[in-house]
Symmetry: C2
Subunit: 402 residues, 2 copies
């Protein structure tokens, strides 16, 4: 029997307890030994809960218990999760987490501590919820030079964008509905401004480059300025709008960014709808591979945490093999990247002379809003685009086209 502790009995922590309980027989057969939840750490009381007897407020009891080999950190946030994780790893206990904030902020340090103490710091659940992505990236696509990872990494915004696309909803209405359904927080900033997707692509980029990609240096644009009219324009182009997190390597240059993009149906991410996530990985031999599933939610996220518990439990005394050095990677400016751009303009095309500034731009042949028109540029460098765009006095907005 291998004893496990869970830190934080919130949504994901509760899910971890449920998965370990409901699938105990199957999980035990995979590990080769039964897994037993011995403690659940939480400051709250849970009278009548089926795991009430395991709930404790005493972190030090868990830390000091030599029977505890694997700990699930499902508290979220940096404090006290960081201190707890560090102490546990220093005591040789493997830690499996869903805490993307902590992984993005302190991943390499915690991985190194795990290596120094022959245990593991595992974080499959920190990106893509229940979707296996970190282990496939590290252990499956091992014959590949991976040059791009692009993902729909946030289920809340994807739910909102899908509803706007299919039903022509307004942004404000769909945000309100997402909040009512519990998909969006009361303060939705982390989702709608792209901060959550940014942390996730920072983790994937760091694993790809094996160095630390600070999320603060990743250009991040959310969906809060996307309107239903944008979807009308997208529809004219047979496209949808998706919030993408992307990291891309071109020669020696390394890029990462988060922004809404117009995608057409040839892109496998086009069909990733609702609360689902999809992560498209491009390798030089395998071409495109996509991993798809529920990017959030109690049980899917818990399933990913427990898959890490299985790995840690099967490999006691084995050090993390993840390579993610603390050395900072400096990203190149996104202005070198090349896209097409949908540009929305006030006035009328004849008067503005936009085609003198954007040669070969293609005007959209329909009036979506009176007194407005729109065009799509050819593929061009973002820096060149921004300079030209700044010279258009009647420009309303632009969206990148992938």
């Amino acid at each position: 029997m291998i004893n496990v502790a869970i830190l934080g009995y919130g949504t994901v922590g509760g899910g971890v307890a449920d998965v370990l309980f409901e699938n105990a027989a199957t999980i035990g057969s995979r590990v080769g030994e039964e897994l037993n939840v011995k403690y659940i750490l939480d400051i709250r009381e849970f009278p009548g809960d089926r795991f009430e007897a395991k709930i404790t407020k005493d972190f030090n009891a868990i830390l000091a218990d030599p029977e505890i080999k694997v700990v699930c950190e499902t508290m979220g946030g940096l404090k006290p999760a960081y201190d707890f994780t560090k102490a546990l790893l220093e005591a040789g206990k493997s830690v499996c987490t869903s805490n993307k904030e902590l992984v993005a902020a302190h991943g390499p340090e915690l991985i190194q501590i795990a290596k120094d103490h022959n245990c593991m710091y595992l974080f499959e659940a920190s990106v893509g919820g229940g979707i296996p992505i970190i282990r496939p990236l590290l252990d499956c696509l091992t014959a590949e030079e991976i040059d791009e990872i692009t993902g729909i990494l946030n289920g809340t915004t994807n739910y909102m964008l899908t509803r706007m696309d299919r039903e022509g909803c307004d942004y404000d209405d769909v945000l309100k509905q997402a909040q009512e359904k519990g998909y969006a927080e009361r303060n939705p900033e982390a989702d709608v401004e792209g901060y959550d997707a940014c942390r996730k692509i920072a983790i994937l980029a760091s694993l790809k480059y094996q160095k630390t990609v600070n999320y603060e240096q990743i250009y991040t644009e959310g969906i809060s300025k996307i309107t239903k009219e944008d979807f009308d324009y997208a529809g004219l182009l047979n496209r949808s709008i998706k919030l993408l997190g992307m990291c891309k390597e071109i020669g020696e240059k390394k890029y990462a960014m988060v922004a809404p993009f117009l995608l057409d149906e040839e892109n496998p991410l086009y069909a990733v709808n609702g609360v689902f996530n999809g992560i498209l990985v491009h390798g030089n031999m395998v071409d495109n591979v996509m991993f798809y599933g529920r990017g959030a939610g109690k049980l899917p996220t818990a399933s990913a945490v427990v898959s890490d518990v299985v790995e840690a439990a099967k490999n006691q005394g084995v050090a993390s093999s993840v390579i993610w050095s603390a050395e900072k990677l400096t990203l190149n400016s996104k202005d070198d990247l090349e896209f097409k751009y949908l540009v929305r303009m006030k006035g009328n095309p004849a008067a503005s002379g936009f085609e003198k500034i954007f040669e070969d731009a293609k005007e959209l042949d329909a009036e979506i809003i009176a007194g407005e028109y729109a065009f799509v540029t050819p593929v061009m460098k973002e820096g060149d685009f921004l300079e030209k765009y700044a010279s258009l006095p009647d420009a309303i907005k632009f969206i990148r086209v992938k």
Copy 2:
């Protein structure tokens, strides 16, 4: 340096040599040692080939060379691949293969021999080409009770069906074009009759059940009877037609089958088009997870073989951990499974009284072909459906609806 041999210098074998050569630095850093192709076994001559010096006709030289630790079997077919693989495993050399026929026919025996000789028999490339599916199933979704695996497992037929759907092509025309493009063989039976998909779902089902699912006992229906009119009917239902391989567990009952199905766009497999494959795995906690990518082709398939080489090279002296016993699993009859059915009928609905036989069936409100009509049944057991269907004198054909 770890020495590797390749058996069979055809498409996949050539791809393996290319991947090992082109990505040598990255692969070496992942293994921790350089991988060197020491021999390539083929009965043909390859004058001027960049690996000409490594080509040999002498299998016994490979078998007897103690420097060879890992061998790629990319010959295909049962003979002599089976004898060669067995001899290599008995000599403690790990074998990585793309040979689905051999895996489906002798997988458990070869895995057992590998275990007995502390080496590995690995076959990621045997299902889904470049898509990581076997390792994710065995090593990632470890917290799950997997109750269904459904996949588009054959790129040739998916290419054909996609063209028929999008362009209204005839079956015969699209088969001819697929043959011209090299996607289909001159004798296309293995693809179009579903035999290839059948072997692949037999492998996935065996891994799921950990016992041997004989491909001979899997009900298999190909696409050779699918017509462009079927796609017209599918279009009326906002659906497409896909050839699916499926294994499903309901309570104690275990099923597997291969057949064309009508899918709607809510199904993640709906958007898997052209030569791409997709494998949808349903777990009791994670819900749906899909793995998508190129299911065939020289480099994608080779990439999967080389990912196995990396695993074998990193784990020399470690036995295969795959559980797939030689014990035969008896599948339950597919007649217990429940689907809806699209039924095409001659004549006119008023005269046939079909709704007396299929209560709650819904007639399609459009005439696709003069003198024909069609209806969709409610969800019902296949056995019940077939009995009732047999009593319709004017029935033309049916297609299952998922």
